[in-house]
Amino acid sequence: MADAIDVRTLGVRYNLRLTRKNTVRESFKNLARRREGPGHFWALRDVSFRVPPGESLAVIGPNGAGKSTLLQVLAGILLPDEGAIEVNGRISSLLTLGAGFDAELSGRDNILLAGAFMGIPHADMVARMPGIIDFADLGQFIDAPIKTYSSGMNARLGFSIATAVEPDVLLLDEVLGTGDATFRAKSQARVVELMKAARAIVLVTHDMSWAREFCNHAILLEGGNVVAAGEPDDVVLVHEERSEIRRAGGQPDRLPPIVDRGLEAVGSARGGAAAAS
C-alpha cells in the first residue's frame, strides 16, 4: 500500500530580499547590498520521511526549527523548492482556526465561507452545518456577525469547522488548548476521535506527552534538518536533553542531519548515541 505521506529531500527556501513588506525603495537598497552574504535561507533542507497508513508522526523541535513550515508544505500552502512530497488522501490541517473568517458575516455564513476556502463541496458543508453549530455551542450568536464574538467564541467556531470533516491525513499544529475548560475537554476528545479515524497524522507539538501517547514515530527538527528520528520516547529524550542544555544557556553539540530516506532507516540507536554525546 502506498504511504500516506512520502517526503523526499524536501527543501524550502525563503528569499530574504523578498520577504516582509517590500517597497521599491527597499529593493534598490537591496540591489546595492546584493553582494553581501546569501540572499536566502533554508527553512527546511534534506528532510525525508514517510508516514505509512495507520501511523502517526510527531514533529518536535525548538522554536524556529521549521516545524510549522513543514506542516505548510504538507498542507500544500508552500511548494517545495527542492525535493518532492506526496500526500495520498484528503488533507485537513487544524492550522486554520478562524483564519478565513469575515468579521462582518454571521457565524453561519462564515461556516460556508470557510468550507469554500477549504475546498469542501457545498452539499457536504450544508449537511455538516447542524453538527458544526451544535459543537460550537454559540446559541443565538450563530446568526450574529463574527465581530460581536469573544475570542473564545471565535476559536470555538473555528475549531468546530476545522474538525467537521474527517480527513485521511490530519495535520495538527498545537491547537489542543482552545477556549474554556469545558470546551478544551470537548475539543481534546474530538481531536482524539479524529486521530483515530485518520489514516495518518502529523502532529506538531511542544507537549511531549501527546507525542508519546498518540504517535508511533517522531522526528526532531533543528535548523530545518531532521536530526533525530525513531521511536517517540527516544526522540523526545534527545530533544529534552538538548532543551535542557539550551535552558542552562549552553549550546548543544550540532547533530548532523539525517538525510536517509524513511524512518525505518534510523533506529533509536541514533537517538541514544546523540543523547550520550
Binding site: 529531500t9 528569499n15 513588506k21
Partner: protein
C-alpha cells in the same frame, strides 16, 4: 552533505508547469471554486451595505452623487455646451466605478488575506476574480438609476441600442480582470502599488473621454493624427465612447475598435494569468 543526497535532490527537483498547462489549471481551479468566488463577492456586498442607515441604497446613490459633483463642476460652473450633460457623464461614471473599485479591491485582496493564505491551501486566483466580479455588481445596481434617468428625463436618448450594453460590459470585464490579476500579484511584492494605484486611477479617468467627448480631443489634436492614435491606445477611450454610443447617441458602437480592445484585453488576461500563477507560490512566504 553526502553525494547520494545530492543525487536524490536532482531526481526530485520540482518542475514548473508550462504555459498552456498554467492556463488550463487556472481555468479548472476557477470552475471548481466558483462557489468560493460567489461567497467572496456576496460577503463584500454585504459588508458595504452593513452598518449604514441606507444599506444597499448606497449602490444606487453612489454613482448619482458622483454624477452630481461633475454636473455641478463642468455643466454649471464651467458651462460646457454638451447637451444632456448628466446623462453624458453618467455613461462614463458607471463603468468607471466598476473598474476603479475592482482595481482598488484587487490591490489589497491578497495582502489583507494574509492569515488564510498562510493557513489554507486554496487557489489565490479566486481573490482578484472576486474583486473584479464585485465591480460587476456595482455596475448592475448602477443600471437602475441609469434607466430611471433615461425613462424619466432623457426619453429621446433611449433606443434599442441599450440592449447591446452587455457586449461592451463583457469587453470591459476581460480588461478589468487582467488588470486586477496583475495589480494583485505585484502588490504582494511591492506595497507601493497600493499607494500609487489611487493616483494612477484618477489620472487615467481624467485622460479618458469621461467628462468630455472624444471629439473634443480630436478637435484639439486636429493637426497631429498621431496623438489621436496614441489617445486611443487607452482602452477606456474606446469603452467610454462605446457606452456613450449605445446610451447617449443611440447608435452602433465602433465594433472594430471594440474588437481590438477585446483582443488586447484577452492577451493582457493571458499574460496576467501566467504572471499571477508564477508568483502565486511565493505569496505565502512573502506576505
Amino acid at each position: 552533505m553526502t553525494q547520494t543526497s545530492e543525487a536524490i535532490r536532482d531526481a526530485y527537483r520540482p518542475v514548473r508547469p508550462g504555459f498552456l498547462e498554467t492556463l488550463r489549471d487556472t481555468a479548472s481551479e476557477i470552475a471548481t471554486r466558483r462557489r468560493l468566488i460567489l461567497y467572496l463577492v456576496r460577503a463584500d456586498l454585504k459588508k458595504r451595505g452593513a452598518d449604514t442607515v441606507l444599506g444597499n441604497v448606497w449602490w444606487i446613490l453612489d454613482p448619482l452623487l458622483t454624477m452630481l459633483v461633475y454636473v455641478l463642476l463642468i455643466s454649471i460652473i464651467l458651462r460646457t455646451d454638451i447637451p444632456a450633460y448628466p446623462l453624458f457623464v453618467f455613461c462614463a461614471i458607471l463603468p468607471w466605478k466598476w473598474f476603479s473599485s475592482s482595481v482598488a479591491d484587487a490591490v489589497t485582496c491578497i495582502t489583507t488575506r494574509e492569515r488564510i493564505i498562510k493557513q489554507v491551501n486554496f487557489p489565490k486566483v479566486v481573490l482578484p476574480m472576486a474583486a473584479a466580479a464585485g465591480g460587476v455588481a456595482s455596475f448592475t445596481f448602477g443600471l437602475i438609476p441609469l434607466f430611471a434617468m433615461l425613462v424619466l428625463l432623457y426619453r429621446d436618448h433611449l433606443t434599442i441600442w441599450v440592449l447591446a450594453l452587455p457586449a461592451v460590459a463583457l469587453v470591459q470585464f476581460v480588461f478589468t480582470l487582467g488588470v486586477a490579476l496583475l495589480a494583485a500579484a505585484i502588490t504582494v511584492f511591492y506595497r507601493d502599488v497600493g499607494n500609487v494605484a489611487g493616483h494612477v486611477l484618477r489620472i487615467w479617468f481624467y485622460l479618458s473621454p469621461a467628462l468630455y467627448g472624444a471629439d473634443q480631443i480630436a478637435r484639439l489634436t486636429a493637426g497631429q493624427p498621431a496623438i489621436g492614435v496614441v489617445y486611443h491606445l487607452n482602452p477606456f477611450a474606446t469603452l467610454f465612447e462605446s457606452y456613450r454610443d449605445l446610451i447617449y447617441d443611440g447608435h452602433a458602437p465602433d465594433w472594430l475598435a471594440l474588437g481590438l480592445v477585446l483582443l488586447a484585453s484577452f492577451l493582457l488576461l493571458v499574460v496576467a494569468t501566467v504572471v499571477f500563477r508564477r508568483l502565486e507560490p511565493a505569496f505565502a512566504k512573502v506576505i
